[in-house]
């Protein structure tokens, strides 16, 4: 016992008497590019492989066929690809909303900028849905009074862009003044509640669509737009899309 304490004491004396104080004297900083001059670590590569194969097989399995190539720049105020997206949201989200609330979705409004890719002619896969909608946005539904729906129409008049819409028709004159606006073929009633579906990004103020916040209720459907598109592709066999007269202006 005594011997052990002596060793401890001795060590402490040595340590305190000549413990070297270390000083930071120099710092060197840089960044190293990761590129194909570096060989990949084989263990890591082997570990990723089965995950990659599963994801790719799933992403590339054919769900539908597109008869043409569609882009968001194909029309002035409505486009084939935009109409397809808004109609798909109405068709796929309505049953979910109906079971939860007993109501139907009357109107869908998305944003033109939210169409992130073209839809190419040929096989349509889950990867197509990831390209068109890479973000995680989900469908939300809010109850808007007719007066707020009119603000939405006013927004569309001013934007002069083919923001995707469904359930509604708008006719403007050559000066972008409103000639006619209907929901389900009927004139808009200021005091009636219309259920409008959009995505959470736009509801939360994206693209300055502030009229959504005038809604009396918010229903989050926990249904991602991308998953909705994948489900829609699975449901339909062929995508034969077209622009129509839902949002037009006369010359």
């Amino acid at each position: 016992m005594n011997k052990k304490y002596f060793i401890i004491l001795l060590t402490l004396v040595i340590l305190t008497s000549c413990k070297q104080e270390m000083h930071l004297t120099r710092i060197e900083g840089k960044r190293i590019e990761i590129n194909d001059s570096l060989a990949g670590n084989q263990d890591v590569e082997n570990f990723i492989k089965p995950f990659r194969e599963h994801v790719n097989n799933d992403l590339d399995s054919v769900l539908a066929y597109s008869v043409d190539t569609y882009t968001k720049n194909d029309g002035e105020l409505n486009t084939a690809i935009g109409n397809f997206m808004a109609d798909a949201v109405k068709e796929m989200a309505s049953p979910v909303f109906k079971t939860r609330t007993g109501n139907n979705i009357d109107i869908v409004m998305l944003n033109h900028g939210g169409i992130r890719s073209i839809l190419s002619k040929g096989d349509v896969t889950s990867r197509t849905a990831y390209q068109i909608m890479p973000f995680e946005n989900s469908v939300v539904v809010t109850g808007l009074k007719g007066a707020s729906v009119k603000k939405m129409i006013n927004y569309l008049q001013k934007a002069k862009r083919a923001h995707p819409i469904s359930g509604m028709s708008i006719k403007l004159n050559a000066d972008f003044e409103l000639l006619e606006a209907n929901v389900d073929g009927e004139a808009i009633d200021d005091n009636k509640t219309y259920y409008v579906a959009t995505n959470d990004y736009l509801y939360n103020g994206g693209d300055n669509m502030s009229f959504f916040r005038e809604g009396d209720s918010l229903h989050t459907l926990d249904y991602k737009i991308r998953n909705l598109l994948i489900d829609y592709f699975k449901k339909v066999d062929t995508l034969d899309l077209s622009a129509d007269d839902r949002f037009i202006k006369t010359n």
Binding site: K4, T25, I32
Partner: protein, 304 residues
């Protein structure tokens, strides 16, 4: 009780003899030590390299290549730490299919030492992050997210210390304000605390209480907000604190060709670095320590 004391003292004496021996042999001669800090940020589930046809990042990135690079640096200097400044999740279908499992497993294979939490790491909710934690063999650190009323409580530490070659390194984490970036139903009862005040506190604890030789802040605040200069960022943090040697940043996907040198509240140099995103680059900062007093009298030389 007596027996336990005895055992502890024996263990201590053995350890001290070991150290004493080393010190004796190097007594009166100068020694140099080198600590290497490697870092990534905003990798966003980019596991595979970009393909040859990519418009911007052709043939860049890739976790397997990063693994080789880290391995070779560790071989050259075993006193290396590998850190990530958040937004590990979201950006490729790997995240949508596996919820972050693959990202965490690969980071564990690369032997990451610590990571902080980015806003996108909440994309599957705080429960989604919690569910993936068993796949991470490294610690998450965040000092300004109060997780007390969430399931991450006790799983995330404010800071962590490492000892490499006798040099003590203290690392604390900071996260960005979640309100407005992440919906409340995802981050739930996470409370965001003022990062500047927390950083002042953390640097004091790490320097004065933990006696760290090196203090590093792992931040997901963002590099700098030119149009909103009062918003907490890595640069405002560097200026408002002291005793931090290095701020490793993220969030703003800022590609700094070399680290920024900023003056802190007592006019000493702080390094701020960020390497863009998607695992296109690895940041590497080497800290050299010297026992020679004469050298240290000249201050610290920074070569960037």
């Amino acid at each position: 009780m007596k027996r336990r004391d005895f055992l502890q003292q024996t263990a201590a004496s053995t350890a001290l003899i070991g150290l004493g021996g080393l010190t004796l042999s190097s007594f009166n001669s100068t020694t140099q030590k080198k600590i290497t800090i490697l870092h990534t940020n905003d990798v966003h589930s980019h596991i595979d390299p970009f393909g040859p046809d990519d418009g911007r990042n052709a043939n860049k990135g890739g976790v397997a290549r990063r693994a080789s690079l880290v391995e070779s640096i560790r071989k050259e200097n075993p006193n290396t730490l590998l850190l990530d400044a958040g937004d590990i999740f979201q950006g490729t279908p790997y995240f949508n299919y596996y919820g972050g499992e693959l990202e965490f497993k690969l980071m564990s294979m690369l032997k990451y030492d610590a990571a902080t939490i980015g806003n996108h790491d909440f994309d599957n909710g705080i429960d989604g992050l919690y569910a993936q934690l068993p796949h991470a063999k490294f610690d998450f650190i965040s000092a300004n997210y109060d997780f007390s009323n969430t399931n991450l409580n006790t799983h995330v530490k404010p800071y962590k210390t490492f000892v490499k070659d006798g040099i003590k390194i203290g690392i604390f984490g900071l996260g960005i304000e979640l309100d407005g970036l992440v919906t409340k139903d995802l981050y739930k009862e996470t409370v965001y605390l003022n990062p500047t005040e927390i950083a002042q506190d953390m640097s004091r604890i790490l320097k004065e209480e933990e006696h760290c030789d090196l203090v590093i802040c792992l931040s997901h605040l963002g590099y700098n907000y030119r149009n909103n200069p009062d918003k907490p960022s890595d640069l405002t943090l560097a200026r408002a604190t002291k005793d931090i040697d290095l701020i490793i940043g993220g969030h703003t996907h800022t590609f700094l060709p070399k680290p920024t040198i900023e003056k802190n509240s007592v006019d000493k140099n702080v390094l701020v670095n960020q390497v863009g995103c998607y695992g296109l680059y690895l940041g590497k900062i080497d800290f050299f320590f010297d026992s020679d007093k004469n050298k240290s009298a000249d201050g610290t030389t920074i070569i960037v």
